[in-house]
Amino acid sequence: MKNHPYQNLNRHTKSVFALVDCNNFYASCERVFRPNLQQKPIVVLSNNDGCIIARSNEAKALGIEMGAPFYKFRQLIEKNKVAVFSSNYTFYGDMSNRVMKSLQMMVPDLEIYSIDEAFLRLDNIAFDDIINLCYKIRFNINKWLGIPTSIGIASTKTLAKIANQIAKKNLYNLAPNHLCDLRDENLQIKVLAQTAVQDVWGIGKGISTKLNAIGIENALQLRQADSKQIRKILGVVGERIVYELNGISCLHLEEIAPRKNILSSKSFGKNVTAKSDLQEAVANYAVRACEKMRKQKTLAQAIHVYIRTNPFSNKPQYCAGNAISFASPTDNVAEIIKSALKILEQIYRKNYEYKKAGIMLLDLVKQGENEQINLFQNDLFLNQNINENVKKFDDKKTEIIQKTLEKINQNFSKNTIFYAIQGTKRSWQMQCNKRSQHYTTDIKELVKVY
């Protein structure tokens, strides 16, 4: 370790992270306002009701698969009276925002990792108090918001992620209360030996085959591997994962993308108050997130944007976020930026000093994975609409319009034109058949009490 670039990181070895993850977040949100669905199976569908993107534990037990097309399980779903919801990102976004704000009230140092996960930093809290604090966090989030959570505690984010997996499923009967403390060295060794490398945070299937090839099959073997050798195979992030498994904290959240979401966020170098500065930042994050998404050939179903002030300053505090869903899954940069700015417009408040902004692209699907999407994007549908508009004009104007449209078609992707004309109309017609109410954001859609 002598001349190692991370030798200075020893000061971080006393760090403690807790990963708070909401259990079956979308399904749990739906349950808050529908008490009749307690202990009942629930599934949530992607935009246009194409795929299953969330399941309650009861639905998982029925064998309904994550990401599967809805029609594949339609019979099973109907037979077992599974409650089916279209995705309601406005609602989930607001609930997520409430969860994060509540967490921040209890632990100021928080990093939002996805719509339903956040890392808390608990460095300067006594060893035993940490457990009590985490119990309190679980209790409060459940009481205040009706959302059950799982918490994994460890000295690094990578280990906290593993602890969280244990907490969620109560693996090895280590976490009967959805709380797993993985700070004990002996426990780590026991658990890591039973964790497959592909289940380690940041190690996908592609990488795990490479590791398997050199005889590394579980997380303990990866932890004991020569970090230099791993660096040769996996690069610097791989090397850092080895350090993280050894309890040395050195990974930034941005370096590891969640599998189903893309996160792009950053603290500002200095505090920012102007809306224009935030707009610029958010637009930049949107572009960056789109690049990541295009690289992995996926499409996003919704976008979540948040902004917050510095929790460690004495200045007035503000923290807000919101989500909106796209008419159909998209990787169109222009549309994503537009949506991001629209959310920013809603959540921005004057006179606060903002420290951080972030965007999340939610529930990614592989391009061409959802058949129903293609139905709406095909040319026939497009031309029909163009023709409707075109009929209003005489022949000469028609020609001009047609040519203009063709030009737009060439210059932009077909999606662009399709959105411009169809706008939100279709999203109402096609996508929200089974959407729950906007319980928390629209006064006309409040839940009824009798």
Binding site: R98, S102, G146, V447, K448, V449, Y450
Partner: protein
């Protein structure tokens, strides 16, 4: 042919670049770089546009007394993250001043006390009633003679959805 040195008429003609005039490289302190590029991009300083008229004469004496507007959110909602609005359907609480179509402010973070008006999940439905803990047991009391008290045989905190803190009634 001469070697090296100045070649006449080589390179881009002066003054036809981005700025349409001759330019010159200079050293700029990094801290001022943004300001100077802004200055160049805007061809001068951009003065902020003030959205007010300049008045001749005396300033309004009211200008010194501008205070914040009354914020009903602050007044009605003590714990914003844990507070939800719900809408009343039915007349079971009419004598407590809770009418159909009223909006209730519900705080889920409060501890339930005897006599609170609460939202409870019963038979899969959300209902608003008054909590009454007596020696005979725990009851959900309606505020309308037409309805009977609902006994809660296995009362526990899990069925409590939240505590009603305010009623918003439209006249």
């Amino acid at each position: 042919m001469t070697r090296g040195g100045y070649r006449k008429n080589a390179g881009r003609p002066k003054g036809n670049g981005k700025y349409q005039e001759p330019t010159k490289p200079v050293r700029i302190p990094l801290s001022l770089l943004g300001k100077i590029t802004d200055y160049i991009e805007n061809k001068g300083f951009n003065l902020p546009l003030y959205n007010s008229t300049v008045r001749a004469g005396f300033p309004s004496p009211a200008d010194d007394y501008i205070v914040e507007n009354i914020d009903l959110n602050k007044y009605l909602i003590k714990h914003p993250t844990a507070t939800f609005l719900v809408k009343v359907a039915g007349d079971s609480m009419i004598d407590a001043g809770i009418n159909p179509d009223d909006i209730l402010v519900v705080d889920r973070s409060l501890e339930v006390k005897n006599g609170d008006i609460i939202i409870v999940a019963i038979n899969g439905e959300l209902t608003v009633k008054k909590l009454s803990k007596t020696t005979k047991g725990v009851f959900l009391m309606p505020a309308n003679k037409k309805y009977q008290p609902i006994p809660l045989h296995d009362f526990n905190d899990n069925i409590i959805w939240g505590v009603v803190t305010n009623v918003i009634h439209k006249l």
